[in-house]
Amino acid sequence: MDKNIKVKNVIVKTAADFFMPIALIFGLYVILHGHLSPGGGFQGGVIVAAAVVLVYLGYGHETTENVFNENLLKKSETFAAIMYAGFAFLGIFYGANFCRNVLADKMGAAGELFSSGTIFWMNFSVGFKVLTGIGFLSLIFFGLLKEKNNESK
């Protein structure tokens, strides 16, 4: 496995360069339009997390480690989980029950981007959580590959 990944390959690098912005933009689109079109936080988050894999494939271990900070990703994931629970707790603060969509009437009409109340924000926080979480998971597994490379050399 370790021998097959040629990190300095020009074709892979160019392809990674080309596809990474697309993956980022498309993923963000899927996250933000979760309440209007097919998709949602989970799906979009995974698409964005693919960017981590693309960076790894194109540029190798050193660049990946420089670009992404493992601890920051982990803390962002935790923060996103708190954010989700916070939006769920909004219901209690507004005098209704947990998970109540209290903002539904206060935002735009149905069909607009900023509509559907906490669904939009929960979608966003889940997307954020998934992209950081899956990115962190990918980084852990890449770390294993790096150890293998060092041992075999």
């Binding site: 309440h35 769920a88 998970c99 559907s116 109340g117 906490t118 669904i119 998934v130």
Partner: protein, 89 residues
């Protein structure tokens, strides 16, 4: 013995499963249960066009909360398992 038990139990599950599935697989052409109420009130209650997202984040939002906690737990566990452990103890 082991081989017998393997084939015996898998056959039991397969046969009863197929039997049950055959009686389950009726083609419903109408709504019943929760789905009709949910679909009819989606726009009014949640202002979301995507009914699946509305179900995921509003009426079953607590499940999704649990689901994201599953992901969090799995990632934390993976990080804990793959961390550099104590050596020689």
């Amino acid at each position: 013995m082991k081989k017998f038990m393997t084939f015996f139990s898998l056959t039991v599950i397969l046969v009863t499963g197929l039997f049950v599935m055959k009686s389950m697989a009726v083609l419903p052409a109408t709504y019943d249960g929760v789905a009709k109420i949910l679909v009819d009130t989606t726009i009014e209650r949640t202002r979301a066009l995507n009914a699946v997202t509305a179900v995921v984040f509003d009426s079953r939002g607590y499940d999704t909360l649990g689901e994201s906690f599953v992901l969090f737990t799995a990632i934390s566990c993976s990080a804990a398992i793959l961390r550099k452990g104590l050596k020689g103890r």
